[in-house]
């Protein structure tokens, strides 16, 4: 090299040098693992005993028992009803809440309280909301519907607001320049820009409401969850596996359907 008149570059970074930050992170993780295993009282004997139980449990779960399909079907129907009604009502309210929370169209006087309300809806897990509703409106589908309406508002009103905040204001200005009323401005300049994203969010929310509607029954808010919980408590594990298979099939079928809907609406 030297006779060619080229000096080799010496001060390049060694690509395989030890990254102290990463190794420190690993040590931290390992330390944390040791600490939690100590403080939570996790022990290997309990785990291995559990694995033994898991064997017997799986043994009792198979073959799945579909003989009580009427019960299964009524639970499934109730879950679907809860999901559909709560999604429609939740999306309807979210349209308004999303609009009122959009900072580019509304003044702070409106957006701040609406945003606060949306944040409160979002920060409690649906199960906790469901418990409160079961205590206040009694057992049954109504509590589930109200719960999932709250969950829907918390999730998609926020996404709607973000979508509206990202629109181009030129079209809004153009429509305004024609002397259009506020409703017309919303309908003809804002909505066309965000419609396909709204459809995407809405199918996502219907999806998540469907999943949650199989769960809220555990605390008595109607749907397949209640059937599942009572099957668990009666140790009917073959019926439990039948319910679980139904839930997975339902979700898969819905994912297929929502893909179809999304492909129809994505121009």
């Amino acid at each position: 090299m030297a006779e060619l008149g080229v000096t080799p570059v010496k001060d390049y970074k060694n690509p395989f040098s030890i990254n102290w930050l990463t190794s420190g992170l690993w040590i931290l993780v390992a330390g944390y693992l040791l600490y939690t295993v100590q403080s939570l009282g996790l022990s290997w004997t309990r785990f291995s005993e559990g694995l033994h139980h898991a064997g017997t449990l799986l043994d009792r779960m198979f073959p799945p028992n579909f003989s009580r399909w009427e019960l299964l079907f009524s639970g499934l129907a109730e879950s679907l009803e809860i999901a559909v009604i709560s999604s429609v009502v939740g999306i309807f309210f979210s349209l308004f809440f999303g609009l009122f929370a959009a900072r580019n169209l509304m003044s702070n006087l409106v957006t701040v309280p609406v945003r606060g309300f949306i944040a409160v809806c979002r920060s409690f897990h649906p199960i906790i909301v469901a418990i409160l509703f079961v205590k206040s409106v009694g057992f049954g589908a109504l509590a589930g519907i109200l719960t999932l309406i709250i969950a829907s508002i918390g999730f998609i009103a926020k996404l709607f607001a973000e979508a509206i905040e990202e629109i181009s204001l030129k079209q809004v200005e153009a429509i305004r320049a024609t002397g259009a009323s506020f409703t017309s401005v919303i309908l003809f300049s804002v909505l066309p820009q965000v419609f396909s994203r709204f459809i995407g969010f809405s199918t996502y929310q219907l999806d998540s409401n469907l999943r949650n509607s199989t769960m809220v029954g555990i605390v008595g808010a109607g749907g397949l969850g209640g059937t599942l919980f009572s099957a668990f408590q009666r140790f009917d594990y073959d019926f439990v596996s039948a319910i679980l298979i139904t839930i997975i099939a339902l979700i898969l079928f819905w994912e297929f359907l929502s893909n179809v809907v999304r492909s129809i609406f994505s121009e």
């Binding site: 939690t36 559990g50 920060s123 206040s136 049954g140 109504l142 199989t214 555990i218 839930i247 129809i264």
Partner: protein
């Protein structure tokens, strides 16, 4: 659509001024979607079993519930909420760490630019979808049946539920990377471990951390309710106070959950801002 316009203009030498945004087929399929939603809604409203008296009564009952929650019993925090809240955070964190053991290999199997075989995609997708379809509370029920009530069930429920989420998002992140550096490394004859570590990992790293943090945030929320079915954490305290109708203690637990959830979200948002 365009060809239709041209054929008209060639024969009649007139331009069809009627402009349509969507083709007829698209328009019809859109209306079909609207219609089926409408039918589903009407069917649901007609068949759902709701007692209307309960519905009219609801605002009053809710007001009554909140009245009973006041004043919040703050002394209850020291008695049992604090310890249970720490346990909840530990369940969420440990569950997120445990889930990586399963989620990372499944993400590799699901990413078509690491494993090209369709069999491996189907197998991994089966596990990812089942993990996501079953709610964490239902996973918790299963694990309580296996390991008995306690923290282990909670940790495993969180872990099994998160596998689908992390695995799916991680495999999508892996599929989006630029394959140039991976091919360059392969061409030098690097072993697969080195390719993973120096080809894939640096490109996936920011996405990986932000996915894991995001899931941790969700897990904090979820681990707060696992105790309702006996899987440890603040949920057990909440359930006990509710069964005793100690609404002021319930309010304290709810307040603690609210504060912790908000704090977790703030932490995650700030770290993610720095990462991206």
């Amino acid at each position: 659509m365009l060809s239709g316009v041209f054929s008209v203009s060639e024969t009649d030498s007139k331009i069809d001024h009627h402009w349509q945004r969507f083709t007829l087929k698209k328009q019809l399929s859109r209306y079909a979607v609207y219609l089926s939603f409408l039918i589903a809604l009407v069917l649901s409203i007609r068949t759902v079993e709701v007692i209307p008296e309960f519905f009219y009564d609801a605002p009053e009952q809710i007001a009554d519930l909140f009245a009973r929650m006041w004043p919040i019993s703050f002394e209850f925090y020291q008695i049992s909420v604090h310890e249970a809240m720490i346990e909840t955070l530990n369940i969420a964190t440990l569950g997120t760490l445990v889930t990586l053991i399963f989620a990372v290999p499944l993400a590799f199997m699901n990413a078509s630019n690491i494993v090209a075989s369709p069999w491996s995609h189907w197998i991994s997708r089966f596990f990812l979808v089942s993990s996501r379809s079953i709610n964490s509370l239902i996973w918790a029920l299963l694990f309580v049946a296996i390991f008995g009530p306690g923290v282990i069930a909670g940790v495993l429920a969180i872990a099994f539920r998160s596998v689908g989420f992390i695995g799916k998002l991680l495999s999508e992140a892996i599929e989006e990377i630029n394959m140039g550096s991976v091919e360059a490394l392969r061409a030098t004859g690097a072993p697969w471990g080195a390719v993973l570590l120096k080809g894939y990992w640096p490109q996936v790293k920011p996405a990986f951390f932000s996915i894991v943090l995001f899931r941790w945030d969700i897990n904090v929320r979820e681990s707060a309710v696992l105790g309702l079915v006996g899987a440890g954490g603040i949920g057990i305290v909440l359930n006990n106070s509710m069964n005793l109708f100690e609404w002021q203690q319930v309010a304290m637990s709810l307040l603690a959950i609210f504060v912790v959830v908000i704090m977790a979200e703030i932490v995650v948002v700030n770290i993610r801002k720095r990462l991206i």
